[in-house]
């Protein structure tokens, strides 16, 4: 069974069909790419899969469990985490705390225990700190742990978003243009990180990207969207050589 | 405790001197007795506080000019309580630090209850000019100059029925104000006894007190012949104006809160033509006492005094009378001892004040007669 199974998913805004009958199957452990021209509906797909928007038609299921209709928080509990195209960090909180918020549902103790500093508070906080630092290290952010998130440069903010999403222990990680605003070297490094995350955390990753170097470098499979509909899908190299994809998206 | 000699950090104004200093410096007439009051000097009830301040100050100045009381002078200070119970306590405390020996309590009812809870604890003599709520003076140290709420409400109903002014009555009152709702409650009880019918009882609150069209409409629709206004004059002036503009002309009847309406800056007195009120004081009364008081007040403050000012004026004279009656000759006496003397003396004096001839009962209530007044040609006339 595929980890993510999307069937005939669609949504319209006013008259605009932003996503129109999308089908998608992602096997566990895959690095899957979602590409397409600007305004094709890629981000909207992410918004549907994470419960920000409710689909007008179609369903999607994670590990066989149908999730459409659930709230954002519930969907995250079920195992889908994401990053945002327009960075959304907890800007006034420290880098460490950003990740700890991600760990919110994995290291639980009651508000009561928190207020009265019961042993469970110390135990869980300690565990949280350790795990958060471990995750930050993966992204080379451990040195900035106490920096306020909004003061990080753009590229590091992107990484922090991924770290935070990872902290929720997802089964499926959605990355919306992770390399935007990075130079080729930084992108290279990011690619390594993404691969590392996939291998180390046994993660399935669906990502949107316009940087073809990254797409061709790490994605194993691709779906190309155009006007909310599937234009092509398959192995990366195949898709990128598809003439239709070239005219609609890649150019020469 | 209760001695006023240790207030060293008190910044002296021209006439503020500590009690023991004064006994040496002022020669033959020794020392001062300090009287303090709290009341709203800011906020939307400031007009009442200011009136009390001026009325009391006038009386104090007159008394001092005439040689003081038993050879010593009086000194008066007012602190702002913003018509707030909490601030009233603070104001009272500030006055204590200043060396207050006699308290005029608070101008308004609720703050006065709180101030008196401290004053009774301290055993400080308290004579409020204008706090009408029953609870304001429910301890033996406390007295008042004005009528209590039940007194006014009942008296009004009685008066209306005795004079046969009307049988169908509407009431417009301020439900957020203890004074107004207090009078209304007793008026209602008495009215039922006297066979008056309250056909409409419409409330407003201090948060919405400028539009009375609904209240008047309801009164009119219910066929009220008389509208009872147990409220203050600023709102009453709006009611009169709005009634006129909708062509509704019942009898209007009010209590002491209505006094002051004619003195409002630029008020069209023809609106108040025929308004009746039951008040112990009327600035337009022609008796000699009132005339002297009003003209002195006008000269000093460039304003016509209202009943708050009159009550405060009488309060100071009552204190003077009580001090004389109790034969208080030592102005440095601490407030508790002073209180013990004054609370006895109060019940023994008679004050010929501008609000009438007053005596006091031991529970602190004044005995005086309200006068029925009617406004004719822009002036009060006794009914």
């Amino acid at each position: 069974m595929a980890l993510l199974e999307v069937k005939n998913l669609g949504i319209s805004f006013g008259g605009l069909r932003a996503v129109d009958g999308l089908n998608l199957r992602i096997e566990k452990g895959t690095l899957y790419g979602l590409i397409g021209p600007n305004g094709a509906g890629k981000t909207t797909v992410f918004n549907l899969l994470t419960g920000v928007y409710k689909p007008t038609i179609g369903t999607f299921a994670l590990d066989g469990e149908v999730l459409n209709g659930k709230s954002q928080a519930q969907i995250n509990h079920k195992g889908i985490a994401r990053t945002f195209q327009n960075i959304r960090l907890f800007s006034k909180m420290s880098v460490l705390d950003n990740v700890k918020v991600g760990l919110h549902n994995n290291n639980k103790y009651s508000s009561f225990a928190g207020v009265f500093r019961l042993p469970s508070y110390f135990k869980q906080e300690k565990a949280m700190n350790k795990e958060a630092m471990d995750i930050l290290k993966v992204f080379d952010l451990d040195k900035e742990a106490s920096v306020t998130a909004e003061n990080l440069p753009y590229g590091k903010q992107r990484k922090l978003e991924i770290a935070r999403a990872l902290a929720t222990h997802p089964k499926l990680l959605l990355l919306d243009e992770p390399a935007a605003g990075m130079n080729p070297n930084e992108t290279e490094e990011l690619m390594k990180t993404i691969r590392f995350v996939r291998d180390e955390f046994d993660m399935t990753i669906l990502l949107i990207e316009h940087d073809m170097r990254l797409v061709s470098g790490i994605c194993e499979q691709l779906t190309v969207l155009n006007f909310g509909m599937e234009l092509a899908k398959g192995e990366t190299s195949e898709v990128l050589n598809n003439p239709e994809v070239i005219t609609a998206y890649l150019g020469e | 405790g209760g001695n006023n000699t240790d207030n060293t950090d008190n910044t002296a104004t021209e006439n503020t001197t500590t009690a023991d200093g004064a006994s040496e410096n002022t020669g033959a007439t020794g020392g001062t007795i300090k009287i303090g009051a709290t009341g709203p000097l800011t906020g939307d009830t400031a007009v009442y506080g200011k009136a009390v301040q001026n009325g009391a100050q006038l009386a104090v100045d007159e008394i001092n000019a005439a040689g003081g009381v038993n050879g010593y002078q009086l000194e008066f200070k007012m602190q702002d309580d913003e018509n707030d119970v909490e601030k009233a306590a603070t104001a009272y405390n500030a006055l204590k630090d200043w060396g207050m020996q006699i308290s005029l309590g608070s101008v308004t009812s609720k703050p006065c209850i709180n101030v008196n809870s401290y004053a009774s604890q301290d055993n400080m003599f308290l004579l409020t000019p204008s706090a009408t709520a029953v609870e304001s003076i429910n301890t033996d140290n406390a007295f008042r100059v004005c009528f209590s709420d039940p007194n006014q409400g009942a008296k009004s109903a009685e008066y209306i029925s005795q004079q046969g002014l009307a049988t169908k009555i509407a009431v417009i009152y301020d439900s957020s104000d203890p004074y107004s709702s207090g009078i209304y409650n007793t008026f209602k009880a008495e009215a039922e006894k006297d066979g008056l019918e309250i056909v409409a009882a419409e409330a407003f609150t201090s948060d919405a007190k400028s539009d009375f069209s609904v209240h008047l409409q309801k009164a009119q629709s219910a066929g009220a012949e008389l509208v009872f206004l147990p409220i203050y004059y600023q709102e009453a002036s709006l009611i009169l104006q709005q009634a006129k503009s909708k062509g509704y002309e019942p009898l209007f009847f009010g209590c002491d809160g209505l006094d002051g309406i004619l003195a409002m800056d630029n008020f069209d007195t023809s609106l108040a033509e025929g308004v009746m009120l039951l008040t112990p004081f009327a600035a337009d009364a022609q008796d000699e006492k009132t005339v002297t008081f009003v003209s002195a007040f006008k000269e000093k403050f460039n304003e016509t005094p209202n009943q708050f000012a009159a009550d405060a004026y009488d309060a100071i004279y009552a204190i003077k009378a009580a001090l004389e009656k109790g034969n208080v000759t030592d102005p440095t006496m601490n407030y508790s001892d002073l209180c013990n003397i004054l609370k006895v003396a109060m019940t023994e004096i008679t004050v010929e004040g501008v609000t009438g001839t007053i005596t006091w009962t031991a529970d602190g209530e004044p005995n005086k007669e309200p006068k029925g007044m009617i406004i004719e040609d822009g002036a009060y006339k006794a009914m």
Binding site: - | H215, L238, M264
Partner: protein, 293 residues
């Protein structure tokens, strides 16, 4: 018939709220601040007109003009002295400063004009209109207030949407930095907003005092809050919304006094506001907040 009478009364009360709310919503919508001192500028406007008309005996229209000019200048000065230094601070910081300014104006008026009420002479000489054999009367003040607020609503709407300074206001209200990058003089635009808002306050002051003739240093506070409620009710920043919100609040207030309870009318007005906002979270005419993820 009574109902109509209540309705008319509600509209006349509401038209005052509407007029105040227009000024509120201008400043609120553009400068993104709750100008709690707005009601007090109205009060000052009332006093200025009263002084020049009654104390100094100037003709009515001259007095009104003086009032408008005075308040406009006052608004600009307040903005320069108290709000401009906080241009980059949070809107909450400006809100608190506005509260300070409100206290300041009230206490200043208390000292200058005294606590005693003054009776304002209505500036409207129009005769009331009588309907249904005199069972329902509409006062001249009401008619003038409604006409003035409708005209102002239209003028303001056109101004904001059709003129260059108006467009600058829209840009400033969204993103001051980006507006500067368009060449908009942010400081001048905000000053202009305050000038207009305060000029409107003077007009509102005159008409409010003509309807409700008692003038004290505190008359601005409560209508200010009501007008703020009206502005939110209609949708923050929406000029027609402020107008509709104001009138509706007036009607609800009066009808609930008439038919439910005069003691509970405050609670009822607020309850209706809450219900409306729960159904339409951005007010009656407010734009839906477009937030793309």
């Amino acid at each position: 018939m009574e109902f109509i009478s209540y309705l008319v009364n509600g509209i006349s009360l509401g038209s005052i709220y509407a007029l105040i709310a227009l000024g509120y919503t201008m400043v609120y919508g553009i400068a993104k601040m709750l100008n709690f001192a707005h009601g007090d500028v109205i009060m000052i406007g009332g006093y200025v007109v009263f002084t020049s008309m009654t104390t100094m005996g100037m003709p009515t229209w001259v007095s009104i003009l003086i009032g408008i000019v005075f308040c406009t200048l006052l608004g600009v000065v307040i903005e320069k002295v108290a709000y401009k230094p906080l241009r980059n601070a949070t809107s909450l910081a400006v809100l608190i400063t506005a509260i300070g300014m409100s206290y300041f104006l009230q206490n200043l008026a208390l000292i200058v004009f005294g606590a005693g009420g003054k009776t304002f002479t209505s500036v409207v000489s129009m005769k009331p209109i009588s309907l249904f054999d005199g069972q329902v009367t509409i006062s001249g003040e009401t008619i003038v207030t409604i006409i003035v607020s409708v005209i102002l609503m239209i003028v303001l709407t056109l101004f904001v949407n059709r003129t260059k300074p108006g467009r600058a206001m829209l840009a400033v209200s969204e993103d001051r930095g980006a507006a500067q990058l368009m060449g908009v003089n942010v400081n001048r635009t905000i000053s202009l907003t305050f000038a207009i808002g305060s000029g409107l306050a003077a007009v509102a002051g005159v008409l409010m005092c003509s309807s409700y003739t008692t003038l004290t240093p505190y008359i601005g506070a409560m209508p200010g809050i009501r007008a703020f409620v009206a502005a939110v009710f209609g949708g923050i920043g929406s000029i027609p919304g402020a107008m509709i919100g104001g009138i509706l609040i007036g009607i609800i207030e009066n009808l609930s006094k008439a038919y439910i309870s005069s003691q509970l009318s405050d609670a009822i007005v607020f309850a209706v506001l809450i219900i409306v906002l729960l159904v339409k979270p951005t007010g009656l005419m407010g734009k839906k907040i477009a937030e793309k993820v």
